[in-house]
Amino acid sequence: MRKIALKAAIGLLAVMLVPAMAWAAPKEIKIGVIYPLTGPAAAAGRELRAGAELAAEIANQVMPGINMDMAKNAGIKSLGGAKLTLIIKDHQGNPQLGADLAKKLILDDKVVGILGCYYSSVTKTVSAVCERYGVPMINGSSTSPTLTKRGFKWFWRTTPHDKWFTKDLFEFLVGLTKGRAKGVKAVPMAEINTLAAACEKTEWGSNVAIEIKNFAKEYGFNLASNILYAAKSPDLSSEVQSMIAAKPGAMLFASYTSDALLMIKTLKSMKAKPKIIWGQDAGFDKPEFVALGDDIVGILTRSVFLPSVVKMKPLSGQVNELYVKMMGHDLGGASARSFTGLQTWVYVLEKAGSTEPKAIQAACNTISIPGAQLVVPWVGIKFSTKGEEIGQNVLGGGLIGQYQKQKDGKIGLEVVYPFDIATAPMVYPFQGY
């Protein structure tokens, strides 16, 4: 009798334990991170990786000095303090390799979700793999507008995209004519009405060219020259000749690093004198570009994060301090957005309280992260669930920075748009070469 009772007790205990074990929170949550760690964008890759790693570090331990919810808990509180483990892979700028890596992360490493991939072309293939397997992907740094126009159910993007950034440019130009730029009197429209653009002929550059064309029409500017050039070209003199011949008030570019460097050198050699030079981030926001020194003073670039943001956002300063300790330099557009991408993952997992894809999907679609929690100067993060752009963060915003000579003689970026948060008077017109 006693034996039967014992067996029954053990059986009962086993029955009770099974579901308890099944529902036990995981000790670690694997997130696959896919970035270009080698190849032409390796420098950006290092920044992206460091941004994501810093966010994971803050999420995995209590950090009293950081005024951010995820720094108050060690791990994901709603999942029993489970820690984040990043499995980082290198796509080398190759969309096919990116897709293969995503499959491997999903099938072999059993990741809960994916963060990546910087290059819009790679994000396109990786998100298609995630969609097929029903695995959530959060993108923090790809800006091709088409990515959120596909109606995907498992893809969310935190960064604003090129359409928004280009709209910012035209808002800025119009504001300039109305005297809204800090330190600049109203500029006559005739002075900057004519535009000339040169964008690289890639998925990203072609889209930027289309946005420029559409907005120029909408805002009443004359786009006299809209050139698509072969990326990584050995010579850009014919493009620059055509742009100068159009006598533009503003020259607009979408180029990666080596093309951006060659473009500036060619502009200088041909003594170009536009009133404004604007770059769509990428090559215009890299340390090698800054190394051009005095030649870039006055040039504008769009960005989502500039070191001068620290002046107006204490939280950015706190995170930036940790980043400087880690990398030896300030947060930039790539690292700040990658940080925000992984931070979004933390808040989504916290809200979902589960690693089940369906629960994460529901959490993504309903999450609302206030701007006060972010290092980037956005209103917040809230994803669109209907309309033209499914999965796009609707509370993001861009900045336009201008290279200026600082007091210490170094060249740095100051915010000139949005006008109300400008960190320095704008230099206008561009000095010319």
Binding site: T38, G39, P40, A42, A43, A198, K201, S225, N226, I227, L228, Y229, A230, K232, S233, P234, D235, S237, S238, E239, Q241, S242, A245, A246, T257, S258, L261, L262, K265, T266, K268, S269, M270, K271, K286, P287, E288, A291, L292, G293, D295
Partner: protein, 308 residues
């Protein structure tokens, strides 16, 4: 119409200068092919090595990058000889396909070696006699100093190589080796030495080119590819192995890639609003390869080629 005339002048000057630069880069390629019938896929990487040599040695020696050109040439020549004795000599015993894959492998090897030691970020020369300087030669016609210097160097190099091949005893021995290696051996010419010499000349010429180009172009491990594709088209268009052909073909390609601004000026002068969207900048290299294709169909040996 006046604008169109000025633009044609600008494009012609710019095309001529850039064409001479393309020809300079292609010179070493055509010398090596002319002697050995080997297509050196690693040619662009030799250029990259020349660029890095000037970039790194100029601050180290405390001299202007232009003064490091002999060193860049020497490094190119030594690299050429090393590649010949370490790899190419063995490839010559294999079939054509082994030679192709061999130099392709050399390209990957050199590029990744550069990636390992130099990193992937593009680098530029900040200061120098040629850096950031340009000369105004006519109404709106501006010549960039580095490109102009490269064009002059190109003409000089072509003259030297032409003189060396056609007017010296060693040059004639090289020509003999390229025409009939076995016959040359019977005549007492050391073909091994001639082959190594061709690699040394080829390496030196592209090394010097690299050393000069770094005054204007950013250098990164993959920079060779930008120029190699054009260099191959140049050599094939001019005729494999023809020194004169490389010069003429380089200039033709220079003119072709400078056509788009003329087209834009034509559109502006006739005010053809309907044609405004038809910009041809993104097709400028397509035009180069279309001309190359045409020449290959009509004259497979190239414009001045003497090898079939």
């Amino acid at each position: 119409m006046e604008e169109l005339g000025i633009q044609i002048l600008k494009s012609a000057v710019s095309g001529l200068i850039m064409g001479l630069v393309f020809a300079l880069v292609a010179l070493g390629l055509t010398v090596i092919f002319g002697v050995m019938d080997i297509v050196n896929f690693a040619h662009g990487e030799f250029l990259m090595v020349g660029m890095y040599t000037s970039l790194l040695t100029s601050p180290l020696l405390g001299v202007d990058p232009v003064l490091t050109l002999p060193l860049a040439g020497l490094v190119g020549a030594v690299l050429g000889v090393l590649c010949y004795f370490g790899l190419i000599r063995f490839l010559l015993r294999g079939p054509m396909i082994a030679q192709l894959f061999g130099t392709f492998g050399l390209m990957i090897f050199l590029r990744n070696l550069a990636l390992l030691f130099m990193g992937s970020e593009p680098r530029i020369v900040h200061e120098g006699w040629l850096v950031g300087k340009s000369i105004l030669v006519g109404p709106g016609v501006v010549l960039e100093s580095t490109k102009l210097a490269a064009a002059v160097l190109s003409l000089f190099s072509f003259a030297v190589v032409w003189w060396f091949i056609n007017r010296t005893k060693v040059g004639k021995a090289i020509t003999a080796t390229s025409l009939d290696a076995e016959g040359a051996r019977y005549m007492g010419i050391s073909t091994e030495y001639m082959n190594a010499l061709a690699w040394a000349v080829g390496g030196a010429s592209v090394g010097v080119a690299g050393g000069l180009l770094v005054n204007f172009w950013p250098v990164e491990p993959g920079v060779g590819l930008l120029f190699t594709m054009i260099a191959f088209a140049t050599v094939a268009l001019g005729g494999f192995g023809s020194v004169r052909g490389a010069l003429v073909a380089g200039i033709i390609i220079g003119f072709i890639v400078n056509l788009p601004p003329v087209w834009d000026a034509i559109l502006r002068s006739i005010d053809a609003a309907g044609l405004r969207g038809l910009e041809i900048h993104s097709f400028k290299y397509t035009m180069v390869y279309a001309v190359y294709f045409l020449i290959m169909v009509l004259r497979p040996q190239g414009l001045f080629g003497w090898k079939q």
